[in-house]
């Protein structure tokens, strides 16, 4: 694979909070149009990685290169910040707190278009309509305030807003975790369609191994800030090697599953 196919490259990434090492020596490359999962439990450092990639946290060490440009250090220029924002976007877990309650979905998306792309209001309106169609929202829903929308509809607004900059990389930080089962399936299908149509890459931060399997090509398993296993998602889940990955896999309920106390499980693994 040639270098230009890599849209996001992370090497030696490290983040220390006080005396706690949140992320230690993380490395990965994400090719265009592919999806990578970062899997782990609370405190494993997976969200810190996402926050460093979008620039909400400053790495202690290491480099993050997106679309050929280093974004390891905060930018000093407004234009550079805007460019970074355009290339990598994020959708958070909770669509109830990540949308402005006083703006309609159409206004939210329009604002992003105005800041990043300009254009006439007619052009922007057309683009808003295109994005709404892409995420499966109708005009009435786009013109409603967030409080009038369900969780799944709000999360679609958040996805439409993130896509408005034409990002190359979309970070999905537990973006489907809070959704009802029937809605989660709709949003996962929408995300798969968008990837196929736009050639966008995803970094999916998730604790839900079934969602990870459905949406990603490769996966990293993090435990206490360190990547303990990596590989092709299906192989990693079918045949986990590291004890922690095995433990995660064995903890997922399914047919014939019986919950075991930790000491019994440790003995079994």
């Amino acid at each position: 694979m040639s270098e230009s196919d890599i849209v996001l490259s992370v090497s030696g990434l490290r983040k220390v909070f006080g005396t706690q090492v949140a992320v230690d020596d993380m490395n990965f490359e994400l090719p265009a149009g592919k999806s990578l999962a970062i899997v782990g439990e609370s405190g494993s450092g997976k969200t810190t990685v996402a926050r460093m990639i979008v620039g909400l946290e400053k790495p202690t060490a290491g480099t993050i290169i997106a679309c050929g440009r280093d974004r390891s250090k905060p930018s000093r220029k407004g234009a550079e910040r805007k460019l970074r924002g355009r290339e990598v976007q994020i959708v958070f877990q909770d669509p109830y707190s990540s949308l402005d309650p006083r703006q309609t979905g159409a206004d939210l998306v329009d604002e992003v278009l105005r800041v990043h792309h300009g254009g006439s209001s007619a052009d922007r309106a057309k683009r808003v309509a295109d994005l709404a169609a892409l995420v499966g929202l109708d005009q009435r829903q786009m013109n409603a305030m967030p409080k009038a929308l369900s969780g799944g509809q709000r999360q679609r607004v958040a996805i439409a807003r993130a896509l408005a900059t034409d990002p190359r990389v979309l970070i999905l930080d537990e973006s489907v975790a809070a959704l009802d089962v029937s809605i989660q399936a709709q949003v996962l299908n929408v995300l798969a369609d968008i990837r196929d149509q736009q050639g966008i890459s995803y970094v999916l931060i998730s604790h839900d191994l079934a969602v990870v399997r459905q949406l990603t090509d490769e996966a990293l398993v993090m435990q206490r800030g360190v990547v303990v296993e990596r590989g092709v998602t299906s192989e990693l889940l079918d045949n986990p090697q590291h004890p922690y990955t095995k433990l995660l896999r064995a903890s997922v309920p399914g047919p014939g599953w019986t919950p075991q106390r930790a000491r019994e499980r440790a003995a079994a693994v």
Partner: protein
């Protein structure tokens, strides 16, 4: 096995800004002594409200019709000391432990309060019982934990404290409302194992409310599925996955991605889950159902017995074995 809890034709209306809104319509379910019943459904299906009605924890101004009988006692008529005793017999563990514990009091005070005030147990004894209960749920060094404040404990640890506290009053029925949803999977497995042990050792009955069908299937004897305030199916937990009777149960099973295989496309259910008060007349699932016919929309569906389970769909016999796979395209 005689039933410990019987809910019959329960309808609940809540007071909202716009007047009374129905959240549960004609719900019936029963739980035998020592049985674990799963209660699954999406947002607004009424599963939490059913638990709240059983524990008599509905918000002020709520209107209830039908009956809830626990161990021969009419729960909806209780008041005063009898109601307090009922709440000791029926313990509730909620999803978010931090929202249900006083952050400025020690674990000790929280755990022993009801024993000291309701049962007049001396403080030393109450503390000793709390320590034993903590050990039972797998917490090491309980004496230290009792001296700590809620913020010093992790979410999984705190949820175990909630379960231990719920058990102190020696309840016979545990209402677990999404009690493992906020926990990591490995912690969830641990908490489920603890609940399983308690059920076996004490003959505790359980109403296990969750949105996770796989989890309900793995730990419960029977599962009840609710949609828009109504029970649509009650069935042996293992059969709900392999041979569901109601199109909604089948659609829920199919919509969930699998950890064992990657689907080309998930079989999503169109539309969104509705609450009882916004549902259409006739079958409430009809607008989202791929098997719906005009007749389904014309009259309300009644619940009928089928193959050891109960289902609310007049086409259930005709659709038997066809509700899964290939239905949603």
């Amino acid at each position: 096995m005689s039933d410990l809890l019987t809910v019959t034709d329960l309808t609940v209306r809540l007071k909202m800004d716009s007047g009374m809104r129905e959240v549960i319509t004609g719900t019936s379910l029963s739980i035998a002594a020592g049985e674990a019943m799963g209660l699954v459904g999406e947002s607004g299906s009424g599963k939490s409200m059913t638990a709240k009605a059983i524990a008599r924890l509905l918000p002020d101004g709520a209107e209830t019709l039908g009956s809830v009988v626990f161990d021969g006692v009419d729960v909806l008529a209780l008041s005063g000391d009898e109601l307090r005793e009922h709440r000791a017999q029926v313990a509730v563990v909620f999803q978010d432990p931090r929202a249900h514990i006083n952050p400025v009091r020690r674990i000790d005070d929280f755990m022993t309060e009801s024993l000291r005030t309701l049962r007049n147990v001396p403080k030393g004894d109450a503390r000793a019982r709390a320590a034993t209960a903590l050990e039972e749920v797998g917490i090491d060094d309980p004496a230290k934990r009792l001296r700590q404040y809620p913020h010093e404990l992790s979410g999984g640890m705190l949820q175990r404290v909630m379960i231990a506290t719920a058990l102190l009053s020696e309840p016979r029925l545990l209402l677990a409302d999404e009690c493992t949803t906020a926990l990591d999977v490995t912690t969830q497995a641990e908490v489920m194992a603890i609940l399983d042990d308690l059920r076996r050792d004490r003959g505790l009955s359980m109403l296990f409310i969750t949105h996770d069908l796989e989890l309900a299937g793995a730990v419960c004897d029977r599962t009840t599925v609710m949609y828009a305030g109504q029970v649509v199916e009650t069935r042996a937990a293992s059969l709900l996955h392999s041979d569901p009777l109601h199109p909604y149960s089948a659609a829920l099973v199919d919509a969930r991605p699998s950890i064992a295989s990657t689907a080309d496309r998930l079989r999503a259910i169109p539309g969104r889950p509705l609450s009882a008060f916004e549902s259409p007349s006739g079958c409430r699932f009809a607008p989202r159902c791929s098997f719906a016919q005009d007749a389904c929309r014309e009259h309300d569906q009644v619940i009928t017995e089928l193959d050891g389970g109960f289902v609310r769909c007049e086409r259930a016999i005709e659709l038997r074995g066809k509700v899964r796979e290939g239905a949603h395209v």
